[in-house]
Symmetry: C2
Subunit: 437 residues, 2 copies
């Protein structure tokens, strides 16, 4: 059994987890892989940390390039993150004929096309299970487990930070800003939470899921991204009264005109399993034409859950590195000649049902006007709820759930509603998904 | 791209689904597999049915052995079921150097050791994703996706018929026998429902999951199997009042003394996702030491969901059939030398919490005696509920939820409780699982 020599770039949270799980379960892992998988070199700027984690069992360096250039290294595990130095290291490793395992969703979503092209040329594996939904083996499920299916849509809770915040907002009735502070204290949110709360992190992962699901190149700049920062806890409450939960979903659908690719807060019927995924957990719902809806749930982040995915990739690499390329699962699940450059629909072209909240001063007359505006645009109303004005307020909230329409149609309806004199301020609009058959 | 020639044995529900999905998605599937996968021969006793399904595009026969002996066939798909002729056909196919894909859980659970040994000798693949939980890619998740983990336990709703019956019993307050009749009319239950309602089908699947999860040989005769036929709807109702749902679970755990391997009705906290898997759907919860709990949900039966799994296996075979054996995923996920003959614990040795229902005629004195009996055996009480006697009845139900104890300890406590003069009839006992961290 040839030993697989792994060079680890970055020994922070996930790197430390990877090192520890590989040590703890080395017998089990070798028993599965058919080869001992051993981290023989670690690069990190923080040598002191690296020393603590590895306890002197590994050669350390602060020069990551010396690892990717080391002829004794079979596989490079990139856990640095970002797309500056990480990209350069990954491409250098590939050019040196090394296989690469990465947890870097930003790198794959933005530079995957270039990276896969380089890897194809060199005949090396680039594996990235850990880039999406942490420990959940969703890449494998989608790329291999559902290979018989034409994938129709994918919808996922793929950012734990925002799911934690939304869960707290719902359970405690707190405002976004208050929960964010708590999440930061607990370590669930970063000091600069922009990537998480604005939906960018989720969009990176969604892009990867779409590319694999539909066999299309990465087109991250065309993803629509809307975060949870403007979400009010009263909308979460109203949604709940109507039988819905609000989740930040990444949604991608194959339509006739192209592919929808969007991240935004979404109302989901509470009876769906995915609506009941709480706290920092992740879940991905995949609809295949043969299998129907399937769901994959687990920890989407954290040292050992992410390490679980990194090591699963290492086991795959250990098994496959000596085979001919044709025997390997292609990077995006489809053979390279089968990747189709599908168009990404702009957000105004997507179809959705909607939750609308209006603040009105003069209910009876306004309601007739609002329903006329919607009716004129062939937008049918599924449910409506009027709330009493709050103590000491004149305006009342009206909540409307609509059936499906095209977003640009809804944009025009909302503009017309906002132009009504009895409507106070902006209309709050949250998209809704059934996520059934 | 070499075409993969498939011989299909049995063109009933799943066989027809496999044929149809392969036809409909042939371009997509070839794009993933790198090879066209084509059913070139079909064997079925019902040639008329086979003719209707295949519409004259395939060579038909009623002699399955002529297919497994056909030198032009690369892969045999066995969808006959049972372990008589199916076993003989599979072993003949293997001896002829053909790869085998099967959905036959009974065959794998009972004869897997022999089949894998024969396949190993011939260097052929035997794939069986469709044998467990239909379209959910749980074999792949467990065998590859979670390869980094020491699997601690697996708990699954892996029989759709019983989950449909339990869902109806709960939602409509009906008795088992009434719902069974309805399920039979709807086609969710067979005319002879024994395999499903007595938990045998679930135990077949559980055995396969345990073998893969823990790397142990099949020992189906040592599984504990208890079905849902004696379950009363009032226990489902009482459980719900206490915050629990009753599900038929297959549970396997790795303990110091061996492996628990058991199928029985189980109380689960309603807040768990798996407690909210309703109707005929399946879900498998897997706890790995690194990844934590993960859950896989989808359709566990039906023509196209099961076909989805069969074809995923065919895609794997198409990719891997030309590689050396070492590059393939081993049958049970572990290299053959790493399979450990773990002991299966008898049901009296397992540990569980319990739901107990007692019918008592004289509450105050009895309760003291019951709690003394439990206390004497160090069984602590987690919750207790007394119900009013029903109209016109003297006896009342008392429900007790206990903390964890060893089953044989509970057996003795129950015997002592049943010996009390104020206790009417047998104590109803349902095991409970937290299924948390």
């Amino acid at each position: 059994m040839k030993q697989i020599n792994v060079g680890l770039l970055g020994i922070g949270t996930v790197g430390g987890g990877t090192f520890n799980v590989l040590m703890r379960n080395q017998q089990e892992i070798a028993g599965r892989a058919g080869h001992p998988i051993v981290i023989t070199r670690v690069a990190d700027r923080n040598l002191e940390l690296a020393r603590q984690v590895t306890a002197g069992q590994v050669t350390l360096t602060d020069d990551a390039f010396s690892v990717v250039n080391d002829p004794d290294i079979d596989v490079v595990v990139e856990l640095i993150g970002g797309y500056g130095i990480a990209k350069e290291l990954v491409l250098t490793a590939i050019r040196n004929g090394k296989h690469v395992v990465t947890a870097n969703k930003a790198l794959i979503a933005l530079h995957g096309n270039e990276i896969f092209a380089a890897a194809r040329e060199q005949g090396v594996i680039v594996a990235f299970e850990a880039a999406v939904a942490g420990g959940i083996p969703i890449i494998k499920a989608l790329r291999e487990g559902l290979a018989a299916n034409r994938i129709e849509w994918i919808a996922g809770i793929i950012n734990g930070t925002t799911n934690f915040i939304l869960t707290e907002m719902r359970e405690k009735g707190l405002a976004f800003a208050d929960v964010l502070g708590e999440a930061q204290r607990l370590g669930y949110a970063e000091a600069d939470p922009t990537f998480d709360v604005e939906g960018i992190d989720a969009a990176h992962k969604l892009m990867i899921l779409a590319a694999i699901g539909f066999g299309m190149p990465m087109k991250f700049d065309q993803a629509y991204t809307e975060g949870i920062t403007r979400l009010e806890s009263k909308d979460i409450r109203y949604a709940e009264e109507l039988g819905y939960r609000v989740k930040l979903l990444g949604i991608t659908k194959r339509c006739e005109a192209g592919v929808e690719l969007r991240v935004h807060p979404t109302l989901i019927p509470e009876k769906r399993l995915v609506a009941n995924v709480n706290g920092a957990m992740n879940a991905v719902l995949v609809k295949g034409d043969a299998v129907g809806p399937t769901l994959y749930y687990g920890a989407g982040a954290g040292a050992e859950p992410t390490a679980s995915a990194v090591i699963a990739d290492l086991v795959d690499v250990a098994r496959m590195m000596t085979t001919e390329v044709a025997a390997r699962v292609p990077y995006l699940g489809f053979q390279s000649g089968q990747i189709v450059d599908l168009a990404v629909l702009s957000i105004s072209e997507i179809s959705s049902a909607y939750y609308l909240r209006l603040r009105v001063s003069d209910k009876p007359g306004v309601l007739a006007e609002v329903t006329r505006i919607l009716g004129d645009r062939a937008i049918s109303i599924d449910a409506m709820m009027q709330k009493e004005p709050a103590e000491g307020e004149d305006q009342a909230d009206i909540v409307i759930l609509t059936h499906t329409t095209v977003e640009k149609n809804m944009d025009m309806a909302i503009a017309a509603i906002e132009a009504l004199s009895a409507i106070e301020g902006k209309v709050t609009r949250i998209r809704m998904e059934e996520l059934g058959r």
